[in-house]
């Protein structure tokens, strides 16, 4: 048995013309026309997106900032026209892109409820029928005859949210508006979501909160880079969404490392120099992205430019420039690489299991001429030179613990 479709999205694309410079004058237009210049860039906000939302579904849309999900929501609400494709909506649709749009501070709460209703396309009669439940839900019975400017901002948001929730629409579009009101009101909002769900209202919900997705959504669409990446099971969608965010982190880290290579903060007398440093994952692939609890390795190439009696090499992982997490040092390990002369090279290989939990960390490397742990000369110290991303693992906190739990 096929279900009824509430919103059908059929091969929808949306392009925006982005002017290169602020060009909204007649002169510019005429000049550009005259010289046949196209002074804008096409930005593809959505590319060929198709899906159906069934009646009674609690449908989530997630995606990173700038992925196109808000554009999609505005197209669903018929605020934007799609460049290509078609959106068909069955039933009365009420969008809440932002709470309290169209509120007028000079009017009373009562007038604002009716005004807002009018803007959403409800007649005076329809609003009159809904009015009591709206006010009751907002818990603002005593305040409705006061001007809105005398409301606290929390009260205004409560009123707006109540209109959104209590308006008798078939389909509700909600964009990121849940974190409103005090704890009590939030709890009530969550209950109402449950209630709406049971009442069979179709709800389209754009959010960054995976908790809400997990709790309410029947199906979830993941939008990334203007395209529909995944649609279906919420748990799977959450997984994909988290991966997307992680990937972006690691891409950024790599870019930063690349940029930093030439501008690493380093000090020491220069009698030795760490020429290159590389980190590898368990498969031997060079990367700045390591897995928690998995083997990893690193290589340091050191060149000596003068006589060094007892070179000592150290690597330190930090959470931030001030907080040491773990390190290894040849001197503390009692290792000796022998005296080095001008022109000598030394390749250090380091390997182990990544003990840190998922997160971003700083790595410092140094080589020194050591007489003892407290008496040494710094030859080359790359301070916080590298950013490492660690992913995976189940632990909270900083350490990827291997501790187990069992019932006895």
């Amino acid at each position: 048995m096929s279900k009824e479709v509430a919103i059908g999205v059929d091969h929808v694309s949306k392009d925006f013309k982005l002017p290169h410079e602020k060009q909204s004058g007649l002169k510019q237009t005429i000049l550009n026309f005259h010289f046949g210049k196209q002074n804008f860039e096409m930005q593809h906000a959505l590319r060929d997106v198709s899906f159906d939302i069934e009646k009674g579904e609690f449908f989530g849309i997630v995606g990173r900032n700038g992925s196109g999900k808000s554009t999609l929501l505005k197209i669903l609400a018929h605020i934007y026209q799609p460049t290509k494709g078609k959106v068909s909506v069955k039933g009365k649709l009420v969008p809440f892109i932002e709470l309290g749009v169209g509120f007028n501070m000079e009017l009373t709460g009562r007038d604002n409820v009716y005004l807002n209703g009018a803007l959403l396309g409800f007649s005076y009669k329809e609003m009159a029928a809904m009015y009591d439940t709206i006010v009751e839900f907002a818990e603002l019975e005593q305040f409705m005859d006061q001007k809105l400017k005398n409301y606290s901002s929390g009260m205004q948001v409560r009123l707006a949210f109540s209109i959104a929730i209590r308006a008798q629409s078939d389909i509700l579009l909600i964009d990121e508006v849940l974190a409103v009101g005090d704890a009590n009101f939030q709890k009530k909002s969550i209950e109402v979501f449950d209630e709406l769900k049971r009442a069979g209202r179709t709800i389209v919900f754009v959010t960054h909160s995976m908790d809400y997705v997990r709790e309410f959504c029947d199906r979830v669409a993941v939008i990334d880079d203007s395209k529909l990446l995944y649609i279906g099971d919420p748990e799977k969608a959450i997984d994909i969404y988290n991966k997307l965010n992680f990937d972006r982190d690691s891409v950024r880290t790599e870019a930063e490392n690349e940029k930093k290579k030439d501008a690493v903060e380093r000090f020491g007398n220069g009698n030795a120099r760490i020429e290159t440093y590389k980190f590898f994952d368990k498969n031997g692939k060079e990367t700045a992205k390591l897995a928690a609890g998995e083997p990893f390795s690193a290589e340091l190439d050191i060149a000596f430019h003068d006589e060094v009696k007892n070179p000592a090499v150290g690597v330190m992982f930090r959470k931030n420039p001030l907080e040491n997490l773990f390190g290894i040092n040849s001197l503390y390990n009692g290792q000796s690489f022998g005296a080095k002369h001008k022109g000598d090279k030394l390749k250090i290989k380091l390997s182990g299991v990544m003990p840190l939990a998922a997160g971003t960390y700083l790595v410092s490397m140094s080589v020194s001429d050591a007489r003892s742990a407290s008496n040494y000369t710094e030859l080359d110290n790359l301070n916080n030179a590298l950013k490492i991303n660690v992913e995976g693992g189940l632990a909270w906190g900083l350490i990827a613990s291997t501790a187990k739990m069992e019932a006895e």
């Binding site: 925006f16 909204s24 004058g25 007649l26 002169k27 237009t29 505005k74 609400a77 018929h78 605020i79 934007y80 026209q81 969008p95 892109i97 932002e98 749009v101 169209g102 007028n104 000079e106 009017l107 007038d111 009716y114 005004l115 209703g117 009018a118 803007l119 959403l120 396309g121 409800f122 007649s123 005076y124």
Partner: protein, 251 residues
């Protein structure tokens, strides 16, 4: 039509002020042109002539100016809600229309005291007001849509209105122009605003007022200002409808 609630924006005091403005302008122009330059001395009831012209012109100026700003000024709503865009423009013109009605009450009070005898033809006056409203609304639609795309329209319109104020027989009597150059007089009266103001004076004050049918017997020419209004409203609604689809992203 539930969306007209937008008009609530004006306060009661605002209406009172909107009456003061045309009356002050009226007093100034009457002093300068009526008593010092004696322009109106050839015209019976010049003050009431002047007042009718100013009140009708003021409505036209207010309706087109608020219309011009209406869509851009409500950009926050446009970007976040989907409701018929024309309601904003219409709501703006309605608040100007309410001002016009209040001003017209003042006009009729003056009429009663000035000793002008109202003739049955005065019943045609509401039709002229309707024509004026349509003309203003057409321009409001057109300008509002244009302003979303071209932000210097507002300056151009300001200049245009300044020039148009003097191109329309508001201060000076038409009869003076007719004695100087008949062709220019004809051209002036082809402008719907001039036609509306002169016709209003004709039906309310005196049949001696120069109207287009005094200058030409070509009936097509005589009705052309009215035709112009209908063409304008047709074109304006078409253009507004076409461009309103993209208001949300351009505004």
């Amino acid at each position: 039509m539930t969306d007209f609630k937008l008009r609530y924006q004006g306060s009661a005091l605002g209406y009172a002020w909107s009456l003061v403005r045309p009356l002050v302008l009226f007093a100034i122009l009457l002093t300068v042109f009526g008593f010092i330059l004696k322009i109106g001395s050839t015209i019976p009831h010049y003050p009431i002539y002047l007042l009718i012209g100013i009140v009708l012109w003021n409505f036209f100026a207010e309706a087109t100016n608020t219309g011009l700003q209406s869509i851009v000024g409500r950009g926050d709503l446009i970007r976040k809600l989907n409701f018929p865009r024309y309601t904003i423009v219409v709501a703006g013109s309605i608040s100007a229309f309410i001002n016009l009605c209040l001003s017209l009450i003042v006009v009729f009070i003056f009429l009663a005291f000035s000793g002008v005898e109202l003739r049955p033809i005065a019943l045609l006056f509401p039709i002229l007001v309707a024509e004026l409203y349509l003309l203003a609304l057409a321009l409001a639609f057109f300008l509002a849509a244009l302003f979303v795309k071209y932000r210097d329209i507002t300056y151009m319109w300001e200049l245009f209105m300044q020039a148009a104020f003097y191109a329309t027989p508001i201060i000076y009597p038409m009869a003076v122009v007719v004695t100087k150059n008949k062709l220019i007089a004809k051209l002036i009266l082809l402008n719907p605003m001039a036609q509306i103001i002169q016709d209003a004076r004709y039906v309310l004050v005196s049949p001696q007022t120069v109207v287009l049918s005094d200058l030409t017997h070509n009936w097509l020419l005589v009705i052309s200002p009215v035709l112009l209004v209908f063409v304008a409203i047709g074109l304006a609604t078409w253009y507004f409808k076409k461009s309103s689809k993209d208001f949300a992203e351009n505004v």
